[in-house]
Symmetry: C2
Subunit: 182 residues, 2 copies
DNA sequence: ATCAGCATGTAAGGCGTTACATGATTCA
DNA sequence: TGAATCATGTAACGCCTTACATGCTGAT
């Protein structure tokens, strides 16, 4: 498996449950997973090719659903082993790159209203995302007893809890910047 | 300024206050900024060179402090304009890539204890970081009235608030995974 | 008729990580 | 003596984003 290409394990994780095409995988990444991991076509398709060469996954016969051909992939035993090895490996790289915080950190270089305005933009964005996550949560609660849904539920509540913390911080931050005008 | 190379604005933001060498800049990025933005030598030095070619910054005369030469950089008027333009631009890309959440999402592929163990590793990591951030906060509170320190303070409290939310979530998550064993 | 969505892929180019090269000073 | 820190840089390599190419189907 490619050393630094994390999309590989995302693909393996998804294929563990069902055969999927590259397009399907992209759809999944545009959903709930997208809140903590992103992927693009130019990222996914080459990964599928190289993972097939490594024997981690295999092509199933392509299906024509009317539109273009669909090429579903299937996980192999080797692929399952690789997925398990990754899950058991305790080290995980968690990184956030928050341009909003960067702008705030350097906010002293311009008018303070710019900083407040940037916080507002961030706040609106988070509110939109929070609404989506709450919808996911609501749907997941109905099926919490089904296989693996606890895990999906937990990633969604992680998002909700942190986004709610963000919103509280936004309020505090704007208050501090407003009051403390010098 | 390079289109997609965000390290440029980090450098400009830091140079706005004082002349710094590449090494100094790396030190800053290893401190409080590192919680929301990272940088490496192989990232910083080439950026300094290209930004000098663009006239955003300029070399000051190199100083020998005994060890190797130090080459401080100074921000130009053009550099200040670029920094301000970036601050005023409302769009900001905020991305998190949380491998821990990825492992949790796909946690159904192995023993549930693996998932719990991964949460524990994450929790310990967050606790360590939280201790550092609380120290930063304590130090900043003493000098909150000084120029720009409100901004540094706010980025630190952002980190503290979200990390505390993470910890609460960890407790909930482990409880749910423990109880709900099927 | 046209646009959105389905679907697979390639190509260019930039960006970043990691390791390496070099070498002085300070401290244990 | 040896390790850590100071300090600047280069090189290899891989990864990812973005844009492009292609073309069908179904809905408006």
């Amino acid at each position: 498996m490619a050393k630094d290409r994390k999309i590989d394990v995302v693909i393996l994780g998804l294929l563990y449950h069902e055969d999927l095409t590259g397009y399907d995988i992209k759809k999944r990444l545009d959903g709930a997973i997208g809140f903590f991991w992103k992927g693009s076509f130019g990222n996914i398709y080459p990964a599928l090719t190289s993972m097939e060469n490594e024997g981690l996954i295999s092509k199933r016969k392509s299906v024509n659903t009317g539109a273009r051909e669909r090429i579903p992939y299937h996980i192999s035993k080797k692929g399952i082993s690789a997925l398990e090895a990754w899950l058991k490996d305790e080290q995980a790289s968690n990184e956030l790159r928050y341009e909003t915080l960067l702008k705030l950190y350097f906010g002293g270089a311009t008018d303070r209203n710019i900083a407040i305005s940037n916080i507002n933009v961030f706040e609106e964005d988070i509110k939109r995302n929070l609404a989506v996550l709450n919808m996911y949560k609501k749907n997941l609660e109905k099926v919490l007893d089904e296989e693996d849904h606890v895990f999906y539920y937990l990633t969604v509540t992680f998002g909700i809890d942190t986004y709610e913390a963000y919103l509280k911080w936004c309020t505090k931050a704007k208050k501090l910047l407003g009051q403390d005008r010098r």
